[in-house]
């Protein structure tokens, strides 16, 4: 009987095993090899070039742009989305009724395709849009939103914040719901009410949610593709040029498959290291408030 269970276990797990072999393990090994070649995706011949791809990437202007753009996006996106999600969660949490309805409503932007939202953003920011006419006629400001190296990334960060804020709000909401009532009661006895209670009780108690949301938001910044691809193409002046755009351009526009793979490997090392640093920072903050 145990034998048949074991056989069935392997059988049922086999879709995963076959898939992982073809679509994970094999490409993984291939990638580690490709990164050290100069293959151009078409030519039958290519040779191994040692570390040349990595050295080239290190001095490449576009790779450096992708590196810094990611942190710029983070600086804009993470505070907006974390504060926004907390705000939405607090609203939902304090409603006596219709919590489900508003949770669903705030979550709806998550369903949007980046392509469709890029079309809306481009339309709303177009030269003769009501928004720009208002700015020109009433404030005397003529703003080229998507041609500015500061505003263009900000617009993309806002687009992404719109998409993810309702999703992250649900994480904060479940955090808020898991704070025991006794803690609030105890805090009240110590005179912590209103803002004081929020600042000294609610926020520290929400540490696990802050941790999860921040790490998710940080990780997300290393995988941006659709929004800049459709809206700005990485410009102006590389200000919205992300890692994924760089890898896509190198491998599939310029056909440098080897070099593109090397950039992808650098990207994952940078991602991994950055997330590790953020985790350490957050854990330190958590330890200060008694979280292990």
């Amino acid at each position: 009987m145990n034998k048949t269970t074991a056989r069935l276990g392997w059988l049922l797990a086999s879709p995963y095993l076959i898939y992982s072999f073809i679509f994970f393990l094999f490409p993984l090994i291939w990638a580690l090899y490709l990164a050290f070649t100069n293959w151009n995706l078409i030519a039958p011949d290519y040779e191994t070039v040692g570390l040349q791809n990595f050295i080239e990437a290190f001095f490449s202007q576009s790779v450096r742009a992708a590196f810094w753009t990611t942190y710029k996006f983070m600086l804009m996106f993470v505070p907006i989305v974390v504060a926004g999600a907390l705000f939405l969660a607090l609203i939902i949490h304090s409603l006596p009724r219709l919590k489900g309805l508003f949770s669903v409503g705030y979550f709806l932007p998550y369903l949007a395709s980046g392509v469709a939202s890029a079309i809306v953003v481009k339309g709303v920011l177009s030269y003769n849009s009501p928004l720009n006419i208002f700015f020109r006629n009433h404030l005397g400001m003529d703003i080229n939103w998507l041609d500015s190296p500061i505003l263009a990334p900000l617009m993309i960060a806002l687009m992404m914040a719109w998409k993810f804020v309702g999703y992250y709000a649900l994480l904060f909401l479940s955090g808020l719901e898991s704070i025991p009532k006794e803690i609030y009661e105890a805090a009240e006895m110590d005179g912590a009410v209103g803002w004081k209670r929020f600042w000294y009780v609610t926020i520290p108690m929400l540490y696990p949610s802050f941790y999860t949301v921040t790490i998710l938001a940080v990780g997300l910044m290393f995988g941006i593709f659709t929004e800049p691809y459709v809206l700005t193409g990485g410009g102006p002046d590389y200000s919205t040029h992300t890692w994924q755009l760089e890898i896509y351009n190198q491998a599939f526009e310029k056909l440098n498959a080897g070099y593109g793979t090397a950039v992808a490997i650098i990207n994952s090392i940078v991602t991994f290291a950055s997330i590790l640093v953020f985790r350490k920072i957050l854990e330190k903050w958590g330890a200060k408030h008694g979280w292990e």
């Binding site: 291939w30 369903l111 339309g123 009501p130 459709v230 990207n267």
Partner: protein
């Protein structure tokens, strides 16, 4: 103390107003998209609320455009549907089977597979992008539906979710069913699946919407126009058709509305289902 009750009521009303205003802001881009798709062309992006409504943008889409080469917008929609539905169903089925075997069948290698899945989940997929493309091309799958379906036939997150959920189902239930002579397949379809309705709904929705809005992969592996998904076609046409904003909004509605409707239909137990997913 009537004044305090009144005060509290006022606060609640204020809270609902705030919640509602935020809701309007959150759905504003959708409303803008729908209104613009129905607006007369000279009013698109000029007026937030058009003075009259017209279906011209949709007609333009269905006939493939006026002066330019006709584009298969409707076919692109069905391509998206075909690819998303097949891929999502495959991901669900494999996740249920693998999850069941990992949670409920004891066999050597069970733990190893579990750890492999965890490792893979946190592995940056971007490294695999180029070799995956090469594999698809090598197998002659370039520019086919298979290229969009097969690499997205198994989903690690879904396996992970099902494994955790199935672990919470008591073994006694399964043992009892075995005593009654039920085979493993029957146990899965008659006992496990009915118990997993709410989590299946949530996993289905997440898989479906993530697959539906995929851009990079579908853009890479498909080339001929009749194979493109709606998302890819729209992304490609957006630049050159900048002068036709109305139809672009109509296509956006076509891309967005089905998934919104699907989500709203299935969202009855959304909050409860999410509690499990977010744990």
């Amino acid at each position: 103390m009537p004044s305090m009750v009144g005060n509290k009521r006022f606060k609640t009303a204020l809270l609902y107003t705030l919640a509602f205003i935020v809701l309007i802001i959150m759905v504003f881009p959708y409303l803008y998209m729908i209104l613009s798709s129905l607006a007369p062309w000279e009013q698109v992006d000029r007026k937030i609320i058009p003075t009259k409504l017209t279906l011209r943008s949709y007609e333009w889409l269905l006939t493939g455009g006026e002066n330019v080469i006709p584009r298969p917008w409707l076919r692109a929609f069905f391509n998206s549907l075909l690819v998303t539905v097949s891929s999502t169903l495959l991901m669900l089925t494999t996740a249920i089977l693998v999850g069941y075997s990992l949670a409920k069948l004891k066999f050597k290698g069970n733990r190893l597979i579990n750890n492999m899945i965890l490792f893979q989940m946190f592995y940056p997929a971007i490294i695999l992008l180029i070799p995956l493309f090469l594999i698809i091309r090598y197998f002659g799958l370039y520019d086919t539906y298979w290229a969009m379906i097969l690499p997205k036939a198994v989903n690690l997150w879904a396996i992970f979710m099902y494994t955790n959920f199935f672990r919470s189902i008591p073994d006694e239930l399964i043992e009892a069913a075995k005593m009654d002579g039920a085979g493993q397949l029957k146990i899965i379809t008659r006992i496990i699946l009915p118990m997993s309705k709410s989590i299946t709904t949530i996993i289905f929705l997440f898989l479906f919407m993530e697959r539906w809005v995929e851009l990079l992969w579908d853009m890479l592996v498909v080339n001929s126009e009749k194979m493109l998904t709606l998302n890819v076609l729209l992304a490609q046409m957006f630049g050159p058709y900048g002068g036709y904003p109305g139809p672009m909004y109509a296509a956006s509605v076509l891309l967005t509305l089905p998934i919104l409707i699907l989500f709203i239909i299935f969202s009855r137990n959304f909050k409860e289902g999410m509690q499990f997913v977010l744990k």
